[in-house]
Amino acid sequence: MKGISNASPLTVHDLTVAYQKKPVLRNVSLTIPEGKLIGIIGPNGAGKSTLIKAIQGLVPVASGQTQIYGKPYKQQRKLVGYVPQRETVDWDFPTNALDVVLMGRYGKLGWFRRPGKHDRQLSLQCLQKVGMSDYADRQISQLSGGQQQRVFLARALAQEAQLYFMDEPFAGVDAATEKAIIQLLTELKVQQKTVLVVHHDLQTVEEYFDWVIMLNRRIIAAGPTQEVFTTENLHKTYGGRLQHLGAVLSSSPDAVLPEEEPL
């Protein structure tokens, strides 16, 4: 594919982000390997969402550089797909599911061109992949939260990217959607795509992700899940707030989550 060299899908060098003088992220440096499913975990306010927004230039950066396949983000937009948090948009917007997925094509279309037949077909296929082809004509406010999340995922698929950022796709979804997301992640991995997922549920980290980034305003650890997802690192990341660490690591179903899901 054009624009892809041997460079890593994503390198972050010494990134610092501050909101009103208070640093949210401090000196973050990362090199991400290609073709991995990568979880970004950390407590509330650790800067997980901020990290993926800063990489895409959506929040102002105090210092540092990021590169996508060896070049600045601005030159590589078309290689990047983004799934924002579901709550960030107004689902009462007058449009249907297929139209939202078509929005994933806008970046590739460029100025003045309208989505064509090919774009529609591709978008329908993307809806199918998330099990939503029956809902293509459905007004988006008539969809359940999980279905809306799947529409967002289909939209990201329609972007036909190499590197994906997903902001808490598993937050507050039903079992069917969770299954659909996992299936999709597996398929993306087979296609050698790289996916970074902001994730909350520590119990499923080992099951879902090959790689994990543990973040609390700075990088605590980043690497293959078996190596870095350890009791010690979890303690460092979550501090005293994580009391049932043993339970989390053994994936016991009654492990207590270290934090509440933000609504």
Binding site: G57, V80, M103, G107
Partner: protein, 291 residues
Amino acid sequence: MNTLWIILTGALVAASCGFLGCFLILRRMAMLGDAISHAVLPGIVLAFLVSGSRDTLPMLIGAMVAGLLTVFLIQSLHQSGVKTDAAIGVTFTALFSIGVVLVSLYTQQVDLDLDCVLYGEIAYVPWDTWQWGTMDMGPRAVWLIGGVFLLSLLTVGLFYKEIKLCSFDPAMAAAVGIPVLFFHYLLMGLVSLATVASFESVGAILVVAMLVVPAATAYLLTDRLPVMLFLSMGAGILSAGGGYLLATWLDSSIAGAMTAVAGLLFLLSFVFSPRYGLVAKALARRRFRYE
């Protein structure tokens, strides 16, 4: 003939405001339209004072600058921690008051009537004609608002998908490289133009109604953005025509009657909209109960 000009002016005002109002409503910025419509006043007065005439161009430029300044000030206040509604309230009242003070100070120099600015007088539209050479080209207001209407249609037509994405999901729009802030100012610039072009006909206060009410009516009637855009224009045009008839029947203010009809149309769609109306909801609940 005069009747036709008045209705045409009203219809163009209502259609362009309704059309642009859709985007204000969808971005939850209806009150920003309110702010702009008031804050263009100092821009217009300053344009009068500088150019010394009631020419169209300086007025448009003055209004546009004032409108964009409003948007910029609100944005800046908001970014430095003031809540949006407070930022809007502070900005437009400040600018509007400057306008009022200027009008009262220079009332001798400028032929500008505060009543006319606030309430407009659409009935005078047919007599204020545009002379091109020796030819009478028809009412100036029709050309002005017609031009703004076409410009709005053209802009939204060209950048439809960008404007739609900026309205629905600005973060995604920014991520794929669409200049979100540019489109924000572009839309608000158009709103400023539509406001000033509608000023003389319906006045600063009723222009707000035209920005919000037809769009809100259309929003209740459809689930598709293109349909909503057309319906809002339709609702606007209907209000203009119906309002004129109502005004002649009652012998009242034309602009006021137009707004009243717009409000009535909103009420009708609020009650009878096929999916979101009160009647439809009550029927659905009843069905649910009996099942």
